[in-house]
């Protein structure tokens, strides 16, 4: 690496020093040009909004919450009411292939090593429901020899280090202070980088509007003190939602009282949906 003619590397250091000086001068010029008023509003780090005392919403302090979600797969009965409620609540396009949350069915048949996996948009399940706007699991394994089977509800993990936010070229998707990843539909250019970047396949593309779309944990409900629609309608309590900053919230108790796991921890996204009762096949 070092220059053989100058083992000490002094020449290079000097050069870098001069370069740094030039860069500083340029920055100075830029700040001078700042009379145009372009970069003065730039944030001085994450604590800026709270320090400035400005909140995006009047009745809701997003610095006082940190939302998280729990899924108890041992309780899920696969009724798909969550899928229906989500579509209706958030006006997700009508086909079976557009959804913000979904439920996967894992079935291990006798003598088979890998699980058979299907979800509501499987043609067999669409046929069973009779419509792309109604959701039900076909009873396709009732006569088969089933060794093990279970349902796993899935949705956006609202990662602490979201890959989808990192790849957005225009700043249309972002993470809120209370830990939810949102999309600014007025700013999204529809490039779909985020759809590809998500390791969980949680994002979808809304062809009608030409923008990416995703689960928001019903941000419009949780900021009003309500539960997300899917949690509200789950008849068996398989979906749990709450505030990590409240030690007695349902999600804090769920994490404390169960051996929870997250999906694909190796990606480094630090997801915030905690699962109970799934096995290694689920990712």
């Amino acid at each position: 690496m070092t220059n053989p003619s100058d083992p000490s590397g002094k020449a290079r250091r000097a050069f870098l020093g001069r370069l740094g000086g030039a860069a500083a001068a340029c920055t100075g010029a830029l700040v001078g040009a700042g009379s145009l008023g372009t970069v003065q509003g730039a944030p001085q780090g994450k604590e800026h909004p709270a320090a400035a005392g400005s909140l995006p919403m009047k009745d809701y302090d997003w610095t006082k919450h940190r939302w998280a979600f729990g899924v108890d797969a041992t309780k899920c009965i696969g009724c798909l009411r969550c899928v229906e409620a989500c579509k209706r609540e958030n006006d997700v396009p009508g086909t079976a292939h557009h959804f913000r949350t979904w439920v996967e069915r894992y079935v291990y048949l006798e003598g088979e090593e890998r699980a058979r996996i299907d979800s509501h948009q499987d043609p067999v399940n669409i046929a069973a429901s009779g419509s792309e706007r109604e959701y039900r699991f076909a009873n396709r394994y009732q006569d088969a020899k089933v060794e093990k089977a279970f349902f796993v509800p899935k949705l956006c993990n609202q990662c602490t280090h979201p890959a989808c936010v990192q790849v957005c070229p225009v700043g249309a998707t972002y993470q809120t202070e209370d830990g939810v990843v949102l999309i600014d539909h007025n700013y999204c250019i529809g490039c779909r980088y985020c759809v590809q970047a998500c390791p969980y396949g949680a994002r979808l593309f809304n062809e009608d509007r030409g923008v990416s779309d995703k689960c928001t944990w019903c941000y419009h409900r949780i900021t009003k003190g309500q539960q997300p629609a899917c949690v509200e309608v789950c008849p068996v309590g398989a979906r749990v939602f709450g505030d990590l900053k409240d030690r007695q919230s349902p999600i804090s108790l769920f994490i404390r009282n169960n051996r929870v796991q997250v999906l694909k921890p190796e990606t480094g996204n630090a997801p915030n949906v905690y699962y109970v009762g799934i096995d290694k096949e689920v990712s």
Binding site: A33, L36, G37, T38, G41, A42, P43, K46, H48, P49, P56, M57, Y60, W62, T74, K75, I77, G78, C79, L80, R81, A85, R88, E89, R105, Y106, V107, F137, N139, Y141, Q142, A144, V146, A149, F150, F151, G171, A172, T173, Y174, T176, E177, L182, D184, N186, Y187, T216, C218, Y219, H220, R221, T223, K224, Q226, A229, E232, V233, P235, V236, G237
Partner: protein, 333 residues
């Protein structure tokens, strides 16, 4: 400075100024307010109106239903799962009452690999022979087993009470001599307990029965129910002058799940109705239809019946033997 260099610098400065101006012009006002995004969009997203309300929203007007629902097994199933999202209701009209309950209820209750064992599940093919679920189950209070009362009375003491208080109308042997009143011999004791207790408490009212039942003690009710349950029904099948038994038979398929194919109920919670007087059956069905006799299940199934239907049904059940050929152990459950 050579001319070509200064021109180049001037050109670069021009580009730089143009870029800054473009950035200033195209960047939204609140971009960078909280981070690398448009700060106003947070409030815009949060301003969306919730579509799903909560059961407490429904309670404001449907308090009675809400009370029944919240005291029973379906209390974890929110109103809007079956009736749809309540946004805009009641201003924009009624919410649907699900028509096809076999389709709706089986979303959760069809036996399916993967469902937890604690979830109540049915084999669709072997359950209810194609009838709608609400024929037997009240969706707001779905459990049936709870209504079967335990009966442990003294039949001999019951016989004494019967002779003193009931025999005039319901007959010496529990077979009523009059078409207006039901036979009681061989009736399920659990059903009799329930209906007598209801007359006593006022949950069910009848000009004749209410005053009588109010003077009965709980022990006497137990004894009477045990006594009637222990009798053999010897009533002869009756012919109706009002209805057509053959037409009634096809209608009776809708009743079979609870009252048995030929009017002998297999569940002690529900009465056997074979061999009762046709006039009594007609009156009873009309009372259910009019809401005079209160029963959520019977109110539902009689709602669609015409007077002719009722007469035909009564004719069918009156014509059935009240004691099946293979005498079964009716009575206490």
């Amino acid at each position: 400075m050579p001319k070509h260099i200064s021109r180049l610098l001037l050109l670069l400065a021009g580009f730089f100024a143009a870029a800054l101006a473009a950035k200033w012009y195209f960047t939204a006002d609140t971009f960078y307010q909280y981070g690398h995004y448009r700060g106003k969009s947070v409030a815009e997203i949060a301003a969306q109106e919730p579509v799903y309300q909560t059961p407490s929203y429904c309670e404001a007007c449907h308090g009675e239903r809400h009370a029944q629902w919240s005291a029973n097994n379906h209390k974890s199933v929110s109103c809007e799962i079956c009736h749809g999202a309540a946004q805009g209701h009641p201003e924009k009209g009624k919410l649907p009452i699900p028509a096809d309950t076999r389709k709706l209820c089986t979303l959760c209750h069809e036996r399916m690999p993967g469902r937890p064992r604690t979830q109540p599940q049915i084999e669709l093919a072997q359950h209810s022979s194609g009838q709608q679920c609400i024929v037997c189950h009240n969706p707001h209070a779905p459990k049936l087993a709870g209504v079967v009362a335990r009966v442990a009375g003294d039949a001999a003491a019951g016989a004494t009470t019967h002779a003193a208080r009931c025999a005039t109308c319901h007959g010496k042997d529990g077979i009523s001599p009059n078409d207006t009143w039901p036979n009681l011999a061989g009736q399920h004791a659990a059903y009799l307990m329930g209906i007598l207790a209801a007359y006593k408490s006022g949950a069910q009212t009848d000009v004749m029965m209410s005053p009588i039942a109010q003077t009965l003690s709980d022990a006497e009710i137990q004894n009477l129910a045990t006594y009637y349950g222990s009798l053999r029904c010897e009533a002869a099948p009756r012919k109706s002058r009002l209805g057509d038994a053959a037409a009634g038979k096809s209608l009776a398929q809708n009743c079979a799940a609870c009252h048995g194919d030929a009017g002998i109920s297999s569940n002690p919670a529900w009465p056997s109705i074979a061999g009762q007087a046709p006039d009594y059956l007609v009156n009873a069905l009309k009372a259910f239809r009019a809401g005079l006799r209160k029963d959520p299940m019977m109110a539902g199934v009689t709602r669609g019946l015409s007077d002719t239907d009722i007469a035909n049904l009564a004719a069918y059940y009156a014509a059935q033997k009240c004691r099946p050929p293979a005498a079964q152990g009716k009575g206490t459950p």
